[in-house]
Amino acid sequence: MKLYEYMGFELINKIKDRDIEIQDILTSCYKRVDELESQLHSFVNLNEEKSMKKAKKYDENLKGAKKIGNLYGLPLANKDLICIKDYPTTCCSHILQNFRPPYNASVIERLIETENAIHIGNTNMDEFAMGGSTENSCYGPTYNPWDLKRVPGGSSGGSAAAVASGQAIFALGSDTGGSIRCPAAFCGVVGLKPTYGRVSRYGLIAFANSLDQIGPITKCVYDSALLLEIISGKDPLDSTSVDIKVDTYTEEIKKPLEKRVLGVPKEFFGEGINIEVKNAINKSLEKLESLGATTIEVSIPHLEYTIATYYLLCMCEASSNLARYDGLRYGKVSDDLSSDVYSVFSRTRGFNFGPEVRRRIFLGTYALSAGYYDMYYMKALKVRSLIRNDFIEAFKKCDSLVCPTMPSTAFKVGSLIEDPLEMYTQDILTCSVNLAGIPALSIPCGFDSNNLPIGFQIIGDYFDEKGILNVGYQLEQELGIYRKAPPLKAGGK
């Protein structure tokens, strides 16, 4: 077995036992990048020189009795919208070319500075996380490791593809309407979107700030639990982070599922859900019942309004969050500096944002304008609270909700990019979770007839990450497919 094939926690044990050298892990992952990157395009930049130097130093430190972090020497891939000090962070947009943040995101402080993970590079994504296929990147698309003609999902597609293919042991993603869970489902890996406020957003470049959360993308549930333990908790730099006890998730996940009540929201199994996906989910439900859980039917009556509500709100917020990119202080500015400052702003923004980002800024600006505000934004806020109440009601009857992550398995590159509305409906099963602010986990639960992974989604009550990780872990162990790797061959495309 190659080092890149191990789970994160297995490598941690090997390092603790001084069984392997950190440089060997890094080399193994970078070799995997060399072999596959021309096929996958998971990364937008690599931090190879610096991280190899760091690995060497970490190996030397291991010879002494120095205290080491919990992720000592583990290769971490970072989504290109989480700030790393002095490292290019571009949101896969032309407008942030050459932007190097002068500070670390709080999650980076914890994972890298405190727990000693090693940053190996930044991963590809939809520009400013706007998209569900990683096709909207200014660097070009990422391809699905299970079928190179297909998308890896998005927007954290690079992170999911890197973890699925062994280019990284684990990765960070961000989830605004499904951007962690969708690519996790499409690439056959584990993705967790925590409760809004569980993980600090300081240093996460905002797309829609009332919906965005950072979360882990890993090969197994245990690794996600491990990462979440580290990145969770109150951060004085993020007012919206919440001061609620962080559970020992790596212990909690091992509890039995006896007496656990799992709600099956009927609206999540409606029209438009692929039959192979439904079948795989149902098989997993049987497994969960065999583990002692009870399943009951519940309802999220306002689910049909989630796409409209979600897109209105995220576009409104995006139009404001992205207003700062005018080229004046950082990033790319128009070459043509003639005429007044507003013309330069317009040219800078017009030429350097991609079409999907421009579309969302236009629509969001429109919906917030005088005369439309009540009709769109205020109404969407009201529906948002209805959806939130639906979930609160459902959790009075059950502990967690279980359903598919995506309506289908990965679609072909280019098949939906010309049809934004069809693309948006792909988020139907994920984005209500963001509107409610609750946590959700996606784990692989099987494969369709094209050997494409199917994602099983577990949705939890506020701050009940331990509950969904517990269900996810037990199902994962029962299914026993988490070590299955995509059929990739080294070489050019």
């Binding site: 207003a323 700062r324 934004y377």
Partner: protein, 477 residues
């Protein structure tokens, strides 16, 4: 005239900015050195409310008798401008489900001995944009430089109802506001750039104009006067006024049209969800209230009670807290002082000292004057050692810190009360001015002219009462 004001004041006495830990003191330092990812609005940075701003705003709200809202969100005000690093300003909004920091409130003004309450609409908190720097005037400058040191400094906006009916009322309102702000200790409005005023002005029955960019309290009255004349002139020529935004050009002292109604900005206010709602409970308000010093109005009442001052004197005395503090220290220092001395002390401060300070454009704390100086002067006058007239000539010296006794010693300017000496001067005057003496017998008022001659001879040192008595006695002979 219908006038409403929007007054923005910086909370200059805060240590840090509104949403980050950068120093609030951005003046007189290298441009763009007092900045961080938050006040530069760098991608990924998030604001965190400086808790002291809530305390300061509560102080002002209590002093202005506003109703403080117990919970509010901040809102984003969206617009593009080079001084706005995030493309929106974090502010507050009292529509679309938003609330101001506090609603209502009032300031009482006195004009021509008539009292009037200027009712406030609301006060709210917001962040200051960066500072734009030009070479010479905006129009002729070859460039615009941006200094982000000011970006994120806490502003408080005070919005009046449209109830001000003249530029003079506006001036009195601002005078009282400045005084109240000084007493609350939240800001030093003498610092350059600490105040900005927008004014809405209309003639009854016509469209209003909003005059922006009035950068000092002193300019407000002037800008209002100009704008009123401009509006009247437009109507005189038979034209209509249209709703527009105008800009006060403080070099040319005129208002210039910036944009008409159809080009008004749509700020697309919506909640700032990077911040959680701010909660203010009664307990907190009570703690702040207990800590609040006496406000100018209460102080004026107390001064009338304790020092038997008139309404006019007490109200003027309390306007500048430093002057009022000075007064109380000096008036209290001497237990022998009574209502006569209290009044005298007040007159001295408000006439001789205040005049000097205005003339030299300096505040009392920047001089070496101590309450003892005036206390001494009053005592020396009472003891007959100097005359009021002589004392007035001491002002320049006491401002430099020289003690009254030393001035007297140096200048030899004690009061001349030696009767024999004064009698000699009187006799000289009588013999030198036979014509005035002749006049005196026809019209007793000519006595003053003779006394004046005595004063001139003694350089003002002769005791006027003794001089008068002796002169009359000599003339009877």
């Amino acid at each position: 005239m219908i006038i409403g004001l929007e007054v923005h004041i910086q909370l200059t006495n805060l240590k840090t900015k509104l949403f980050c830990s950068c120093s609030n003191e951005y003046r007189n330092i290298e441009p763009n050195t007092c900045v961080c990812p938050i006040c530069l609005g760098l991608p990924g940075s998030l604001p965190v409310v400086n808790k002291n701003t809530i305390n300061f705003a509560t102080r002002l709200a209590l002093a202005l008798e506003c109703d403080i809202n117990h919970q509010f969100w901040f809102f984003r005000k969206n617009y593009h401008y080079p001084d706005l690093p995030k493309g929106y300003q974090i502010s507050q909004y009292n529509k679309a489900g938003g609330k101001a920091f506090a609603d209502g409130g009032k300031i009482t003004i006195r004009l021509n001995n008539h009292k009037k309450d200027i009712i406030l609409n609301r006060i709210h908190l917001e962040e200051d944009p960066a500072r734009l720097v030009h070479k010479g005037s905006i129009a002729s400058s070859p460039f615009t430089l941006v200094d982000y040191n000011r970006s994120g400094v806490c502003l408080i906006e005070i919005v009046t109802e449209p109830v001000i009916s003249s530029p003079e009322e506006a001036r009195e309102f601002l005078k009282q506001l400045k005084s109240i702000v000084q007493y609350t200790g939240i800001s030093n409005l003498e610092l350059e750039g600490s105040v900005r005023v927008d004014a809405n002005i209309s003639i009854k029955g016509h469209e209003r104009s909003e005059v922006k960019n009035i950068n000092s309290f002193r300019e407000v009255e002037r800008a209002l006067r100009h704008e009123i004349i401009r509006q009247k002139n437009v109507l005189k020529r038979g034209k209509d006024l249209s709703q527009e935004t105008r800009h006060w050009d403080d070099k040319r002292k005129i208002t210039l049209s910036l944009r008409s109604k159809e080009f008004e900005e749509d700020y697309r206010y919506f909640p700032e969800q990077d911040l959680v709602p701010i909660e203010i409970d009664d307990n907190f308000i009570q703690i702040v209230e207990e800590d609040l010093p006496e406000m100018p109005n209460e102080r004026a009442q107390r001064l009338r009670r304790e020092y038997m001052l008139s309404e006019f004197d007490s109200e003027n005395l309390v306007l500048d807290k430093r002057i009022a503090d000075f007064y109380e220290e000096g008036a209290n220092a001497d237990p022998s002082f009574g209502s006569k001395e209290y009044k005298q002390y007040c007159n001295w401060l408000m006439n001789n000292i205040y005049g000097w300070l205005n003339e030299h454009n300096i505040t009392i704390d920047k001089t070496k004057l101590t309450p003892k100086h005036i206390e001494d002067i009053i005592k020396y006058i009472r003891e007959g050692k100097i005359t009021s007239k002589i004392a007035k000539s001491f002002v320049d010296d006491i401002m430099k810190g020289t003690s009254v006794s030393q001035i007297i010693k140096l200048r030899g300017k004690t009061r001349l009360s030696d009767k024999k000496l004064i009698e000699k001067y009187c006799k000289d005057v009588i013999s030198e001015n036979p014509q005035i003496v002749e006049d005196y017998f026809k019209n007793p008022k000519a006595l003053e002219a003779l006394i004046g001659r005595v004063m001139a001879k003694t350089k003002g040192q002769a005791d006027p009462a003794i001089s008068r008595e002796l002169m009359m006695r000599l003339l009877k002979k």
